[in-house]
């Protein structure tokens, strides 16, 4: 696992490999179960959670419906407060803008606040190509970066690592990035945190450029908000001379009053805290306080296209809390890397195919990376009906249909590789719509049931490698009813 999500295999293959990694499964099981139980307790403390959740969904829906208006309001407010706003239609444009802005400062090193948007666009790699080194300063992102790894969780990017693995990474890698790990570093959490603190402090004090994302942007005042636990984010947001924030356009909320809803929903859903330790807000620039130059790069990268889809657009409500990951039984077994994007778990399975399109093999497999158990929808603080969107995207994969790509309405063809399944579904659909034929088939199956194999060959192995096949009964219910009660109603065939 290194560097890039490009060219990753379809979900089932990557997930299968993860299920065989017993250490990974133990790490994930322990971590997700711990946090899911804590979240349930934190949420249960509020008797108006359902109303907060409904408000969280409603405010986002209203904002998204008038996003053009709020974005222009935001741009004006940020500009009035001394910031500069840049618009990026896609990842390449965003990376070009940020690279240019860093170059204009003359610096070759930047410190970064944990940010999903910059991972989505591959900013670190783009900066590296331009000779600019980006240092991740979130503890977990640091572990991931030092380990030449990829994040596997939205909130806890190194969830797949345990303490002893982290100690080994620190000992091995810290020296080549800056201050080396202390001699004799153990795997005690306090020692690991101290090693990271010493290593990062150097970066904070020398960096001239900070790069961040944001959890929210308040349109009425042009204020950006970062919610975090460690305080490392605040260091990056306040110490450098230049701050560049790359933020997805859907992060907008109209007013501070709207923000209040999310500052209740987010901490309880993500870290199971009533309130997160650090909430940093900044509005443009302020003389003598914090960065002297502030750039806001507004990122589209598939969001406007997603907004055009009446079912799929609800995914844009997401506040990246990761509650859905922590309750997902598939994520727990597959791990985050199998999702092939910075957005793993159920939310990733609906965001990635919408942001990137469903044409790629990995992207086409993501809507199927779910048993549709609904646990994600149940915990989502902004009520995204993830199972509904998953099924909607499955339809896009196998049936194709109208979509918007780069602002242009187009009609997708059905994905390749589903011909056999499509034929089977058609055959099943026909049989179920012709009960007489189905009944004849079932009678034949019943007569030959002693001859049925216990294990299936070919694709059927996907079932029978781990599970017995059901025995076909001697008589279907339909035949039993007819034999004992006579017929009722007409059986009919297709209309």
């Amino acid at each position: 696992m290194s560097g890039t999500y490009l060219g990753m295999p379809a979900f089932p293959r990557a997930a299968a490999a993860a299920t065989r990694d017993s250490r990974l499964r133990a790490n994930l099981r322990h971590a997700t179960h711990t946090i899911r139980d804590k979240r349930a307790k934190a949420v249960a403390e509020l008797d108006d959670w359902d109303r907060l959740r409904a408000a969280g969904a409603a405010v986002k829906d209203r904002t998204l419906r008038h996003l053009d208006h709020y974005l222009e309001q935001l741009e004006t407010a940020v500009t009035d407060a001394g910031g500069q706003v840049h618009w990026a239609a896609d990842a390449d444009e965003a990376n070009r803008i940020v690279t240019r802005l860093v170059r204009e400062t003359g610096e070759t090193e930047v410190v970064k606040v944990k940010s999903m948007a910059t991972q989505e666009i591959g900013l670190n790699e783009a900066l590296a190509e331009a000779g600019i080194r980006a240092y991740e300063t979130d503890l977990a992102e640091l572990i991931v970066q030092l380990g030449r790894d990829l994040p596997s969780h939205i909130l806890v990017p190194a969830i797949h690592r345990n303490r002893s693995e982290i100690r080994d990474i620190f000992r091995r890698e810290m020296a080549s990035w800056g201050r080396a790990a202390p001699e004799g570093l153990s795997d005690s959490p306090a020692e690991l945190a101290e090693a990271a603190r010493l290593h990062l402090r150097e970066k904070f004090l020398t960096a001239k450029v900070g790069i961040s994302g944001a959890n929210f942007m308040v349109a009425e005042s042009g204020t950006l908000v970062v919610v975090e636990s460690e305080g490392n984010g605040r260091m990056c947001l306040t110490l450098p001379e230049t701050l560049i924030s790359v933020v997805g356009i859907e992060k907008t909320v109209p007013t501070w009053q709207d923000l209040e809803v999310y500052l209740q929903l987010l901490p309880r859903s993500s870290t199971a805290e009533r309130m997160n330790p650090y909430t940093s807000t900044w509005t443009g620039t302020t003389d003598g306080d914090g960065p002297r130059t502030f750039h806001l790069v507004l990122l589209d990268n598939g969001r406007t296209d997603t907004l055009a889809d009446t079912v799929g657009r609800q995914a844009l409500r997401c506040i990246r809390c990761s509650a859905c990951l922590n309750v997902c039984p598939v994520y727990e077994r597959a791990g985050g890397h199998a999702y092939g994007s910075p957005y793993p778990g159920p939310i990733g399975a609906i965001l990635t195919p919408q942001f990137r399109g469903t044409e790629g093999t990995l992207e086409a497999s993501l809507p199927y990376a779910s048993s549709l158990c609904g646990a994600c929808y149940e915990v989502c603080p902004v009520a995204i009906d993830i199972p509904e969107v998953l099924v909607h995207l499955r339809e896009r994969v196998v049936e194709g249909g109208p979509v918007v790509r780069n602002g242009v309405r187009t009609v997708l063809r059905p994905a390749r590789g589903h011909a056999a399944e499509r034929a089977a579904m058609r055959a099943a659909g026909w049989a179920f719509d012709h009960p007489d034929a189905l009944r004849r088939g079932m009678r034949l199956a019943a007569r030959t049931r002693r001859l049925h194999p216990r294990r299936l060959p070919g694709p059927g192995r996907a079932w029978s490698d781990t599970r017995e096949l059901p025995a076909v009964p001697a008589e279907s219910f339909r035949d039993w009813w007819q034999r004992t009660r006579g017929t009722s109603g007409r059986e009919g065939s297709a209309e």
Binding site: R20, C373, V472, W480
Partner: protein, 250 residues
């Protein structure tokens, strides 16, 4: 009260005993139940795999089969949830595609009268003691669509609690998916099997003789995994437990 049994395709073809148990149970409770032969599959396998258009004839068929009944009772949480949650979506999408309101109307008729068995017993018949006798240790796995889409809550457990002779064993992690998920079981077999193995470990750990659910589809997966491991736990649909009596034990 005209009550129709929607047996579901999986029970019709693979688990006729479950359908028979529903008939026995409802008749014992004084409900005259009919089986309209025009019925077929609810369309869930097609719909949940992405073949929405292939589902539409089955929605129309459901409408024709059950139009004349006051209640449609089905021994399947996920098929009931398919009707209740997804038929309106299928109707709305068809209308949006300019193909009229026939499916919208079909869904509007089907949704309010379709009940999963335990809902029908508790909410419509207002019974929790159905006069059953089942002298076994049982653990109950709440299936996802019953639990989270229908919101069955404690209805199945209240029914089981009144069954004479039955000892209910708590299933740890009960609300976690068993890993079946329809075509998920074959599209992501490794993850499905890993989920199934964890579920089965919990089931075996209860020491119960029987694992029961409101869905035979999930039991196909749980039972198939148990059987492959040679575990002695039997998968039994809740209808068969509720139909069992001293005079006619199951």
């Amino acid at each position: 009260m005209r009550v129709a049994l929607f047996v579901t395709c999986i029970n019709d073809t693979l688990h006729p005993r479950t359908g028979q148990a529903v008939v026995t149970l409802l008749e014992r409770l004084g409900v005259e139940v009919d089986f309209p032969a025009e019925q077929s599959c609810c369309g869930q396998p097609q719909f949940n795999t992405g073949y929405r258009h292939a589902t539409e004839p089955l929605v129309r068929r459901f409408d024709r089969a059950f139009r004349d009944y006051d209640y449609v009772v089905t021994p399947s949480g996920s098929c009931a949830a398919m009707v209740r949650d997804n038929y309106p979506r299928i109707g709305a999408k068809a209308a949006a595609e300019g193909r009229g309101r026939r499916l919208v109307d079909a869904a509007a008729l089907a949704v309010p009268k379709t009940y999963e068995l335990t809902e029908f017993l508790v909410d419509v018949l207002k019974v929790t003691d159905v006069g059953a006798y089942y002298p076994h240790t049982v653990t109950y796995h709440p299936t996802c669509h019953g639990l989270r889409m229908l919101g069955l809550g404690d209805r199945p457990r209240r029914l089981l609690a009144e069954v004479r002779g039955l000892e209910l064993r708590e299933l740890p992690g009960a609300e976690e998916c068993c890993g079946f998920g329809g075509t998920f079981a074959v599209k992501n077999p490794a993850v499905s099997a890993a989920m199934g193995a964890d579920k089965v470990r919990q089931v075996i750990g209860t020491g119960a003789e029987v694992v029961c659910t409101v869905d035979n589809s999930c039991l196909l997966h749980i039972g198939g995994t148990l059987a492959r491991q040679g575990a002695p736990v039997r998968p039994v649909h809740i209808a068969e437990i509720l139909a069992s009596t001293e005079g006619s034990p199951r």
